[in-house]
């Protein structure tokens, strides 16, 4: 997938400790790692924004392994559940925290990372086209994974290169994690053209992050809506970032006021703001709003990326071809994933989507063909850039609670329960621990009875979100 040798003397990554690596070195390090990996085997790749993580990912993708990308700080029980479910022969992870008795034997080391052979055997090689597995809802530990092919990764990266005009001169700083589809798409699109990644594990609420960014002449920064709220608080536009050219935002809806704030300030400072829309199920990105129209079409998710397009479907599945009518947003393109996996057998499944993704979002199209999100069809919230399934959270809770129903919007999740045995703090502790989502998002309300219709269907509308 990545032709590293054609940029052998370019610098691929720079790090806060002053080290850097060339594409040539990356090629060498990935080759060495590959020597210890059986092709078409599953590898759990525990990610941090560092060189070793990058080596692991590139090695697996180039060598035909299947990489499940996970947060290196994933909660232990969630990690164990995934291990038990998928039984990976290998784990690529930080040396720090290895449980020799439980994880397996270290067979190779590079810097702060080690390759572990778990002793599991892959009886049947995984399908040739399968390349990367991503979790569906961030770090909530759900074993449901999105299956991505080489074609998915490559077509999405190429398309991103085209619409963002990415060249080898770009120097993006990693504000997002590699195990998150948006973060990974930044890595993919920049490796494709021989650009330089500024990789730091610091967060953008730390001074060190911005010192590093400016010392290394960062040219772009990407974030989810929450990131831009923080940037505003940090008085981002009074910081001196003379080399910055591009800001990109995806991962949920940024309110129009903040959008306008970033677009207008950007224009004054010569920084282009790109609003984008995507889902892990489509590798990462599906549409972008061309910056020339970002104010005249404020609030729109734009139009399909090069090589992809949208259409709208009504409840009967027929295509809506008139403007300003709401229907389900459907995307068609080479970046639509192969499907989901919920157990090891599913990894052998064929392409189930055939390039068509029903996004679960409700949208309409204006007279000029620009799309606007109007709501959500399925019971999903988008919290901090991650899609969170309310049904999945209910399943988690039902291990403890006799009866509960979750409702919410993109800033809060409310648990309604009839179970008096557990108080709100206990329930919230459990959710924070399992999902790694900010505590203030959750609230619990005890009620006497879950409202149901005559046929026993839960009446969600009678459970207030306010």
């Amino acid at each position: 997938m990545f032709n590293l040798q054609s940029f052998a003397d370019h610098i691929v990554s720079v790090h806060p400790d002053g080290t850097h690596h060339t594409y040539g070195e990356l090629a060498q390090d990935t080759q060495e790692l590959n020597g210890h990996l059986q092709a078409h085997a599953l590898v759990f790749c525990l990610c941090e924004n560092n060189y070793e993580s990058l080596v692991g990912y590139v090695a697996m993708v180039n060598h035909g392994n299947v990489a499940l990308m996970l947060d290196a700080h994933i909660e232990e029980s969630a990690f164990d559940t995934l291990c038990r479910t998928y039984r990976p022969p290998y784990i690529w992870r930080p040396v720090n925290g290895i449980r020799e008795d439980k994880d397996g034997k270290v067979v190779y080391r590079l810097g702060s990372y080690a390759l572990i052979s778990t002793g599991e055997v892959q009886n049947k090689p995984l399908p040739d086209e399968l390349s990367v597995l991503l979790t569906t809802s961030g770090s909530t530990g759900s074993p449901k994974l999105v299956r991505l092919s080489k074609k998915n990764l490559l077509s999405n990266a190429q398309s991103i290169v085209e619409y963002l005009h990415i060249t080898a001169d770009e120097r993006p700083i990693t504000g997002l994690p590699m195990y998150y589809s948006f973060g990974l798409s930044i890595i993919n699109s920049h490796l494709l053209v021989g650009a330089t990644l500024l990789m730091t594990s610091d967060s953008y609420v730390q001074r060190e992050f911005w010192v590093f960014a400016n010392e290394q002449g960062f040219t772009s920064f990407s974030g989810i809506p929450y990131t831009f709220e923080i940037l505003k608080k940090l008085r981002f536009w009074s910081m001196k970032c003379p080399t910055l050219k591009t800001l990109t935002q995806a991962g949920g809806k940024l309110n129009n006021e903040l959008l306008q704030f970033f677009i207008e300030n950007g224009r004054e400072k010569g920084v282009t703001f790109y609003l984008m829309y995507g889902q892990t199920e489509a590798t990462a990105r599906m549409s972008y709003l061309p910056p020339e129209q970002s104010l005249s079409k404020l609030g729109s998710i734009g139009k399909g990326i090069p090589g992809g397009h949208f259409y709208l479907q009504d409840d009967d599945g027929s295509i809506i071809d008139v403007p300003n009518v709401v229907g389900e947003l459907v995307y068609e393109g080479d970046n639509v994933s192969l499907g989901y996996a919920e157990n090891p057998e599913d990894l052998y499944k064929q392409d189930e989507n055939h390039g068509i993704l029903h996004t679960g979002d409700l949208a309409y199209r204006d007279d000029d063909g620009f799309y606007y999100i109007a709501g959500r069809k399925k019971r999903f919230l988008k919290l901090f850039g991650n899609r969170v399934s309310l049904d999945y959270i209910e399943t988690l809770l039902k291990a403890y609670l006799k009866e509960c129903v979750c409702v919410g919007n993109d800033s809060q999740l409310i648990v309604y329960t009839t179970d008096d045995e557990f108080n709100a703090d206990m329930i919230i502790d459990f959710l924070v621990n399992r999902t790694k989502i900010l505590r203030s998002v959750f609230s619990v309300r005890h009620i006497n009875q879950i409202p149901r219709s005559d046929t026993g269907k839960i009446l969600y509308k009678e459970l207030p979100i306010e």
Binding site: S203, V205, I230, K233, S238, D425, V432, L438, R439
Partner: protein
């Protein structure tokens, strides 16, 4: 206990779901739940409850429960 300390503690307790006794050792990034998202939630709540406005430098400099008190004293003259 001063009112300021009461409010300060209440914001920490609410953000992290902890009891009074658990607050003193809290440190950004060391305590797992105090990540960048929680940091902003904490800063926003402190601004609102204590009626202050953080500058970017204050947000960067705020690193722990204990040191935060000194910072608020120095920057905003709050007494704990």
């Amino acid at each position: 206990m001063s009112n300021t300390l009461n409010t300060y503690n209440a914001v920490f307790r609410k953000t992290f779901g902890l009891s009074e006794e658990q607050l003193s050792q809290l440190e950004y990034k060391v305590y797992p739940e105090w990540n960048s998202m929680a940091h902003l939630a904490l800063i926003s709540a402190l601004e609102e409850e204590l009626d202050i406005n953080f500058e970017a430098d204050d947000i960067f400099a705020f690193k722990s429960y204990d040191q935060g008190k000194d910072l608020l004293h120095e920057r905003f003259g709050l007494n704990f």
